[in-house]
C-alpha cells in the first residue's frame, strides 16, 4: 500500500526543468512533462521553466484532432495538483513570438532573463530539453 509522508525527506534539493522545444514536432516536450510529473512524487523543490520555443507548449487553443496526437497542453493544468507551483516563463521568448501571459493555458510567472538567471543560478540540478 502506497502511503505518502507529508513531512517529506530530510534533504530537499532544487530541481529546475527547462523546456526549450515546441510541443509536437519532437517528443522532447511531452517526455519532459512526464519526467516532471514523476519527479513531483519525490517532494523536492521543483520549478519548471518555459523559454525559447518551449513557450509554445503553453499556447492556448491547441486542437490536435487533425494531426492524431494527444493534446497534452491540457495536462499542464494538473501541475498544481501534482504540487508543482513554480512555473516561470521567460519574457524575452514571449516577446519574440508576439505572445503574452494571456495567451497561455495556465497562470505563470513571467520573468525577464536577468531575473530568471538568478533563480537558475540557485538550483542544485538543472535539466534542459
Amino acid at each position: 500500500m502506497e502511503e505518502y509522508d507529508e513531512s517529506g525527506p530530510e534533504v530537499v534539493k532544487r530541481f529546475m526543468y527547462v523546456n526549450r522545444r515546441a510541443p509536437y514536432g519532437t517528443i522532447y516536450a511531452l517526455e519532459c512533462l512526464e519526467v516532471v510529473l514523476v519527479a513531483a512524487a519525490f517532494d523536492q523543490d521543483i520549478s519548471v521553466v518555459f523559454m525559447d520555443d518551449g513557450v509554445y507548449q503553453l499556447k492556448k487553443n491547441q486542437d490536435t484532432t487533425g494531426i492524431g496526437m494527444k493534446n497534452f497542453s491540457k495536462t499542464f493544468g494538473a501541475l498544481e495538483d501534482y504540487g508543482v507551483e513554480k512555473i516561470y516563463v521567460e519574457k524575452e521568448s514571449l516577446d519574440a513570438r508576439g505572445l503574452s501571459a494571456g495567451d497561455l493555458v495556465i497562470p505563470v510567472e513571467v520573468l525577464a532573463a536577468v531575473d530568471l538567471s538568478e533563480i537558475m543560478a540557485r538550483q542544485d540540478v538543472v535539466i534542459s530539453s
Binding site: 510541443p23 525559447d52 520555443d53 491547441q62 487533425g66 513570438r97 508576439g98
Partner: protein
C-alpha cells in the same frame, strides 16, 4: 525548368532551414510550412518579415492541421499565406516535379 516545392518542418527560431531555403530557392517556387515550420507563418513573431518580404517571389502555403494543433489561428498568419489540408498537401506535391525537404 518547372518550379520546385520546398518543405520546411523546423521552427525558424531553432534552425536555419527557412533562411537557407529563402536564400537558395528560385523565385517562382512554392514553399509549404509544416509541423514546427508553421511558426514561421505567424504575423506577430519577430521574424515575420522574412516571409512577408518575399511574398512576390514565392507562393507560401501552411498545413492547416499543424496550425490548429499548435493553438494558432488562421487569422494570426501573415497575409497572403494559403492554408491547405492534407489533400492540398498531396495536390501540391503532384503539381510540382520536384519536392525538396529542408530537414
Amino acid at each position: 525548368m518547372s518550379p520546385m516545392l520546398h518543405l520546411i518542418n523546423k521552427s525558424p527560431f531553432e534552425r536555419t532551414a527557412l533562411d537557407s531555403c529563402l536564400r537558395l530557392a528560385k523565385p517562382g517556387s512554392s514553399i509549404l510550412l509544416i509541423e514546427d515550420g508553421v511558426y514561421a507563418a505567424l504575423g506577430k513573431a519577430a521574424h515575420a518579415g522574412k516571409i512577408a518580404g518575399r511574398m512576390e517571389d514565392f507562393s507560401f502555403y501552411v498545413l492547416g492541421p499543424d496550425v490548429a494543433a499548435r493553438g494558432l489561428s488562421d487569422a494570426a498568419l501573415i497575409e497572403g499565406i494559403a492554408v491547405v489540408d492534407y489533400a492540398g498537401f498531396v495536390d501540391l506535391v503532384a503539381e510540382h516535379h520536384v519536392t525538396q525537404s529542408w530537414l
